[in-house]
Symmetry: C3
């Protein structure tokens, strides 16, 4: 299927961008080259690993299918040796990162939906797995860095991926391939617009805390 090839290419864009985001955090935390590898790997692949474990797909594809971990690890190691350049252009990484967010959300939704007998009973499961696939790696990265995960505090990120799960379900009548592409476009656009506009989710007012 043609759509599958597009999704797979965008998946690699996501793995590279997410691994760079992990490597940048490793540098910020003064980690060694092994720390770069672990943070790059985790940011790119831990969300999908947890998804597969929850659905009983073991060993997880992100561990067992050589090209995925190899891409994440090589990206992290290259980022270690070229750290000053990666750091200088880190704002540019936000664009492929948004593409990866969309691709991971679409892949997560597609896999979760394949376990559903009845979409009426599992829309929430699909949304959660979609969000977990796309944003779970960033949570692991932040926990390993001893920080409160950034997605719990600000920015439209995991929420965009969760909405992607809903978009996937609603567009599934058009076919799996189309549904994935629509999901990617919606999630990536929502993320990029929210970045540009500085949109954030509701928070408590100061006097409530």
């Amino acid at each position: 299927m043609q759509a599958d090839i597009v999704v797979e290419i965008l998946n690699y864009v996501g793995i590279v961008a997410f691994a760079l985001s992990g490597a940048l955090k490793a540098g910020e935390k003064d980690m060694d080259i092994f720390g770069f590898a672990v943070l790059g790997f985790s940011t790119a692949l831990a969300g999908g690993i947890i998804r597969d474990v929850l659905l009983g797909r073991v060993p997880p594809v992100n561990i067992a299918y050589l090209p995925y971990p190899l891409t994440a690890l090589l990206t992290s190691i290259v980022a270690f040796y070229l750290y000053p350049y990666v750091k200088r252009f880190k704002d540019l990484v936000l664009y492929p990162d948004a593409v990866g967010l969309g691709a991971f959300a679409a892949i997560g939704a597609d896999i979760a939906a394949s376990y559903c007998q009845n979409m009426e009973n599992c829309w929430l499961t699909v949304m959660m797995i979609s969000s977990l696939t796309a944003a779970g790696g960033g949570v692991v990265r932040d926990i390993l860095s001893n920080e409160v995960p950034v997605i719990l505090r600000r920015e439209i990120y995991a929420t965009a991926a969760a909405l992607g799960g809903l978009v996937y379900i609603l567009s599934l009548p058009l076919g799996r391939g189309v549904a994935m592409l629509v999901t990617i476009v919606v999630v990536t656009s929502l993320r990029l617009v929210s970045l540009v506009k500085g949109w954030e989710l509701p928070r408590l007012k100061k006097h409530q805390v």
Copy 2:
């Protein structure tokens, strides 16, 4: 079975109370509404999710059975909008929280025991799964909040749930339903008495540290 209905009602009491405890922590950490949802969900359901993954029950019931995640997420979102009230009455949450501790411990013990051929070889497994089901969510909440899990430092909490596993095994000859009810009564009572009396577990003396 009548006992099952009682246990299920107490299970929902636990989900709501635990989700409130997650939401309170999210507020304390200045998280946005998505952070409230994740912390409420995790505190209520992560212990059971990890239990199911460890026992090969996938997808975990806390993800796949719509009413559980829906209850946890709706509770968290309501707590966000009513935060000042939830915060004012947070000491009251400790009572349903103790009920939830008992219910989760009993459910965990019951599930773990169903995997045992021979109770002599798996009393420790049942105790561990019981404690994990009841207290694992709070550990995930604290890790996501970048804190040392409170159950590792003070209070009779996870220990009461572990003892619940033993109580379940010992009362199993009376039937599964009775064993679960006895477990709930013992764990909840132990937790409440320890709260009132200020009981704590042994710690190192200052000069030993």
Copy 3:
């Protein structure tokens, strides 16, 4: 097989040494006796538990086979009551800890390799599982202690275990038993030499950060 007995003895050396390392961290963090038990258990057994979950071996042997958790928990509780002595001799624990690192890496590699149809496609998986089995528990210990995992920042530790996975694969033509023993000798020696010599992995130069 004779080699199996040797590996199993060294496995217990590792469980005890790793549990002591967890207990020492629990003491440093002013935890109660339950915290000692959880940190000792996690440091010794969490790596193997995550390995088993990833490979679909559930319930994990470190939970289901009574002697393993019992050894880890009893060690942790003894360490609580004899804390001043354990603390005084903590540098000595580094030697059995290095033996445990080798044993855990060899066991992890042996289990991971048994899932491979084709070693050319899964050398990286074996290396990752080997490193995870040996060093994953320490990561869980540090996360529960609210610290950046030490293996991400300095010392040759998880890297030695990952190399052990490669050593196992290369020596597998000599038979599984021999391959495990060779792996243990190489990993343990590499760890000990790097400790004595103060070897560390590459890090960013100060001006790059």
